[in-house]
Amino acid sequence: MKELLETIVRALVDNPDEISVNEVEGEKSLILELRVAPGDMGKVIGKQGRIAKAIRTVMKAAAVKENKRVVVEIIQ
């Protein structure tokens, strides 16, 4: 899951080296804390959160196969 998020985000940002994803594993859910370079925030959030929403939709689809709930948090 973590790798998938990194793959998607890497393709979108200008500074792929500054991406970090922290996994917080719960009983039924998995929280992924995403950090990117300050200048790349817009590239992962988008107008009215459109990009963030698309990223979460794809992550949710991936979670179906693993039978988990996945939450993506973008951290400033």
Partner: protein, 206 residues
């Protein structure tokens, strides 16, 4: 994989055109790095230096999309096959395989998200804007047929009941299918209400 080529010439321009000839591509399809400006010298005799350039063949938008999606599907553990085609305006991706359902998602939600993200990936590095259209197991065509049938059916119902019908929220593309299907209907008209992403089509009597 990108092809890299180094060429020499009397001038930078000459070196570039030699590289383009060899690769059989246009100037817009490569990145050029000048390694040595070269120098014509005085009277072309004293102090002449040849120019040297490194030419790198750019990835086409289609190749970039394919690389991105291949990696995403691999990380999602999905078993699908993909065919990518491209022309001046757009990149077309066709996907088939046993896991297609997961990629389509509820009412095509995941498909839209993947298409949107691929579009960002392609248009990230400036250049001309390219559309990306992803279709899975003919989903788009089937969905279009469904929407056309649905709009005719609902139009009938509006005419009979004389009451407006508001449809579920849809993407601009899907709303357009309904608008154009009922455009020439003598008895009903269509319009949209609400804000994205919850914009809905309303069918009402004329």
């Amino acid at each position: 994989m990108s092809t890299v080529l180094e060429k020499m010439g009397r001038t930078v321009e000459e070196a570039i055109s030699r590289a383009l000839d060899e690769l059989k591509v246009e100037r817009s399809q490569v990145d050029v790095e000048v390694l040595d400006e070269g120098n014509k010298g005085i009277f072309g005799l004293i102090g002449t230096k040849t120019a040297r350039v490194r030419v790198t063949l750019k990835e086409t938008p289609g190749e970039r999309v394919k690389k991105f999606l291949d990696e995403v599907f691999e990380k999602m553990n999905l078993n699908v096959q993909m065919v990518v085609e491209e022309d001046d305006k757009a990149v077309y991706v066709k996907i088939e395989g046993e896991d297609s359902g997961i990629i389509i998602g509820r009412r095509g939600e995941t498909l839209e998200a993947l298409q949107f993200l691929s579009c960002l990936v392609v248009n990230n590095g400036k250049g001309d804007y390219k559309k990306v259209i992803i279709d899975i197991e003919n989903y788009r065509k089937r969905r279009e047929d469904t929407l056309v049938k649905l709009s005719h059916k609902l139009a009938e119902r509006v005419i009979k009941s004389k009451k407006n019908i508001t449809l579920e929220p849809m993407s601009p593309y899907e709303r357009r299918i309904i608008h154009s299907t009922l455009q020439n209907n003598k008895y009903v008209k269509t319009y949209s209400i609400g804000d994205e992403p919850n914009r809905k089509v309303v069918i009402s009597l004329k």
